[in-house]
Every structure is written in structure tokens, then in C-alpha cells.
Symmetry: C2
Subunit: 313 residues, 2 copies
């Protein structure tokens, strides 16, 4: 990306990967990718080469989040720089997902190189009531900010809460609420329609359409909040009914946050209003995380047009 006069220029984004099954029990992405692998007509565009790909086939087969370790946390520089062998220097077997991250990086990367794919969509579900959320790594990712603005403009289905952009540590599309191992038609269709518009946007961009500057409401991650625990580390409270399912709604100092098993209310003690999300996500119990707090921000996305710079987002 190069920029001058408040314009962001990218070379065309021809090669697009669509990942499903990074977590094997998140069924919308698994089902869409399997569907598009059999028949890709729906994701074909004249100027875009879209490749659907199941990233964690063993976890998909077992309908579990992962086999050895969370694939979504396995794309670290250390893991990716390890030689491509099934065991480490001490002869220990590498976790399946570390080997898988290396393989994915070999096929679609290497991360940060000119050969890497231009855009990667990583499809996820959450048990939290988050609607549709695009998760980006940087507040200067003008390409994806413009894409989100585009999707908001063309799509006004009630469940497409695409104002819920979150600046986070990996890039993905998160749609919920949906239990693990379950495919719900409303969540499936929401993910499908977002991908349709995202590919349309990339097609327009590749054809030379320019996108004027815009502002986008986003939520920036502040803090991870754990469940209250006893001295032995056992959870002693649940998400309070007033907070449950209220992702993206304001949580003010003094508001109920948890309810202990013996009926006491624990209130939020922060100094100002925050916007919780990933509230009561099943997979985050093991990460000691009851929810994440965010703050609202307005980002300005620069004018976007095709240029001659490398398109590594």
C-alpha cells in the first residue's frame, strides 16, 4: 500500500482465499467452503480468483475446535519459521495445528511475501450474540475498512450488524449466535451474503472503481475479563442475565456484570462506559475469558484506488 494526498493505492487483489473450518465445530464456514469446493459458481468473479479451503480438516472430521492446539493462534513467526518437519529438534512431535499452519503458509503465503494471496477471509462462528463482525488487525487497513463500508451500504438485512468492526490480532469474519456443532440457516445465510458483497467489492476494485474517503464506526479491544473464581481457580459466577446476549451494548460503571451461584450480583467497576463483546463464548472458558471490553471509535478510511504497489494486506 502506498499513500499520498490521503489516497490509499493497492495493486489489484486477484487472489482471494476463503478459509472455513479453522475451528472444526464452527459449521457455517465449514459448510460454505465444502459447498463452494464442489461448485464454485457463486464465488466466481471475472477479475477475482477465489479459492475455498478447509484449514483444519482433522478438527472438522471430529467436529471439535482443534485436535492439539488452537490453529487460530498457531500462525506465529516462531511456528512459521520452524523447519517443515513432523517433529522439533528434540524429536518431539509437533502439534497437528502447527504443521497445518506451516502448510497453509506455504500454500497461501508466505505471510508478508509478494507471492502471498492478496486477501484471506477466515470464516468463524461464535456462541455470542455478536451479529456479523469483521475482525481486522490494523486501524490503517483501508482496503478492508472500505470493503466494510461498501457492504453496509448495499446490505440492510437486520442481522448484518456490520457496524461491529473490531480491531484485533487476527483477520476474520465472525458470525453468531450459533452453538458449536450446529448449522443455523439464519447465520449461514448472513455469512453467505457478506461473502457475496465482499467479492463484489473486490471485483469492482479490480475493475478500477475508486472509493471515496469514508468514516467507519469500529470497536477497539481494551481488556479481557475473566469469570470470578475461588482460591482454587474454580468459576463461582455466571454472566449476569442483564449482560447475557448484550454484545456491543454499553456497559456502564455500576451495571450488573456477573451473578454468583449463591445469588450475589457483581457490578462493573471500570471508570467509564465500555462495549462488551464475545460475551459467554463457549471456546473462551479455557482461555479464562468471560467477555472482552471494547471502546467505540470512528475511523477515517482514505480514498481507495488501484495503484502499482504490492497488494499484501
Amino acid at each position: 500500500m502506498s499513500s499520498y494526498n490521503n489516497t490509499a493505492r493497492f495493486s489489484e487483489a486477484r487472489r482471494v482465499a476463503i478459509f472455513g473450518g479453522t475451528h472444526g465445530n464452527e459449521m457455517s464456514g465449514v459448510t460454505l467452503v465444502n459447498l463452494w469446493t464442489k461448485n464454485g459458481a457463486e464465488i466466481q468473479r471475472k477479475a477475482v480468483e477465489a479459492v475455498p479451503f478447509i484449514t483444519n480438516p482433522k478438527a472438522v472430521e471430529k467436529c471439535t475446535r482443534y485436535v492439539d492446539t488452537d490453529l487460530n493462534r498457531a500462525f506465529t513467526p516462531e511456528n512459521l519459521s520452524t523447519r517443515l518437519t513432523p517433529s522439533d529438534e528434540c524429536g518431539n512431535n509437533l502439534p497437528y495445528e502447527v504443521l497445518r499452519a506451516q502448510e497453509i503458509n506455504r500454500i497461501f503465503g508466505p505471510k508478508g511475501s509478494p507471492e502471498a494471496y492478496d486477501v484471506i477471509f477466515d470464516l468463524h462462528n461464535t456462541t455470542s450474540n455478536m451479529g456479523c463482525t469483521l475482525i481486522l488487525e490494523s486501524s490503517k487497513d483501508y482496503f478492508n475498512l472500505q470493503m466494510m463500508n461498501y457492504i453496509k451500504l448495499v446490505e440492510n438485512l437486520f442481522y448484518l450488524q456490520m457496524n461491529h468492526l473490531i480491531v484485533f490480532f487476527y483477520a476474520g469474519l465472525e458470525v453468531g449466535p450459533q452453538p458449536q456443532g450446529v448449522l443455523r440457516s439464519n447465520i449461514f445465510e448472513a455469512m453467505r451474503v457478506i461473502l457475496k458483497h465482499a467479492l463484489d467489492f473486490i471485483e469492482l476494485f479490480n475493475e478500477g472503481v475508486e472509493f471515496p474517503p469514508c468514516t467507519v464506526e469500529v470497536f477497539r479491544v481494551l481488556e479481557r475479563i475473566d469469570y470470578p473464581r475461588d482460591a482454587n481457580g474454580n468459576i463461582i459466577a455466571m454472566v449476569h442475565p442483564n449482560l447475557q446476549d448484550c454484545d456491543w451494548e454499553p456497559l456502564n460503571p455500576g451495571d450488573p456484570m456477573f451473578q454468583t451461584f449463591d445469588g450475589k450480583t457483581i457490578h462493573y467497576q471500570g471508570s467509564g462506559t465500555v462495549y462488551p463483546t464475545f460475551i459467554n463464548e463457549a471456546a473462551y472458558y479455557e482461555k479464562q475469558q468471560a467477555f472482552i471490553t471494547t471502546r467505540r471509535e470512528t475511523l477515517v478510511a482514505r480514498r481507495l484506488c488501484r495503484g502499482s504497489s504490492p497488494a499484501n494486506f
Copy 2:
């Protein structure tokens, strides 16, 4: 149980077991049983000895439904009659849950014997929108029918849809919707309050209170309906949005039932109205079951009073 003059007589039901974690990722029962194991004041009654018990501790530790095989289907006469050894006659290791079923039968049974516990509550969650459901083995289980009638009379919280009794192949309490691995406060409190009233009912019964004849609306299981599949056995459709979350509501011939991934609607072709339940339950994908059809019935529960017969329900 003995009966004459339309009266059902049971000897007192002093020993009550409360099972949680039969499926290790159904968190309401796991949490309640762990809580009551630490402090049983809430489940103590003068004339009742209530024992909370985690039935599948390995599955609870891993937060998975089961380790080797479904414990809830392991209490078969064949499994329970096998000698208590960790391997079968061919030297193969027995599945963990088969050994566990034998152990549970030894502690709380043997099933059908005079030493067996009088009442067993098996606490379950479902991802389906089923409310609170008591699952019984027999339409002549007058004790549990009277218990359900009692709970309906004393409790009118909106989520206690205790009119949803289902005659089925095992006895349990099923509360949902709740994703696997998640503890929701509303579902937790619903299960807790049902257990409170159930123990109150048993206490009253043991104290000699008699319960007059009553009628109870129940749902009797008819048929298990699988997802539509292609020639290779792959699922090609989802539960239709008109049916999703509509457990216990009438499904009439011609009503939408499934939606294929290419957008076609599949209609219910039965000959009359049925009442679907366990709609889109996560754990039933592997059992090739999208939902279960039931029919409504009105059962008459006989007058209940304490007698001298053995109390093996």
C-alpha cells in the same frame, strides 16, 4: 408400585440421586452438581437423602459429550451384565463409559433391584429451544407424572414449560436452549428451581401427603427425522427458518421443514399434525437426527399415596 381402586401406592422415596455431567459439555447439571457436592444445604430435606453425583468426570474434564461412547446409551442389559473388568473376553479394552455405567449401576443400582436408589434425576442441556422437559420411560410412571403436575402448579415462571413431558427411552430432565460448553444463567436457574420443587414434592410424598388423580399433557415420541442427504451421505439442507426454534409447536403437512443449500424448501409430507422437538440439537448430527416428531396426548395419573410396595421407579 401397586395399584387398586385407581390408586398408585409407593413406599417412601428416601434415596434420591442427582446426576450431572452424563454429557460432559452440558454445563447446567455439571455446575449444579459440583455446587451441591460442596454445599448440599439447598438439596437437603428432612425425609429425603439427596446425593449429587458427576457421572462422567473424564468427559466433564475435557468439556466434551463423551470420551469413548455416549454414557446415556451405555446402560444396556448387555453392558451391565458384563463382568466388571477393564477389558472384554477378547482382551479388548472396554469403552470408558461402559466401565462407568457398570460402576454407577453398582453404586446406585443394581437397576431394578430393591437396593437401587428410589429416584434418579439425570440433568441435561440441549441446544434446542425446548424449555424445560421431563423425559420419562413409561406413560404409567404415576410418581413422576404427579411430580410434574405438582411443579406446574407451584411454578409459573415463563421458562418452565413443564407441559413438555415426553415419553421416551430414558428418564431425565432436559433444559435448553444452551450451547455446549456454555453456562447461561436463565437455563441454570430454571434447572435449579425445578429440582427444588421436585425435592419438595418427594418430601411431601414421604411425609404422607396424598395427591389426587390428575391429567397431564404429554408428547409421545413418534419418529426420528434425518437431514436430507446426497448419494454419499452428505447433508444437503438445514432446518428451515420457519421450523428452527419452534420445538413443541405444530408441524402440519405441507409446512416448510428443511431448506437446501441451493435455496429449495422441503415440506413436511406426513399425514397429520405432529409436534417436533430436539430441533437442530448439536449432539444429534452424529445420530442422523434433525429432529424428533411427537404427538400430543393427555395422560391420567392415578391418585398417589404412600404404601408398602418397593419404590423402584
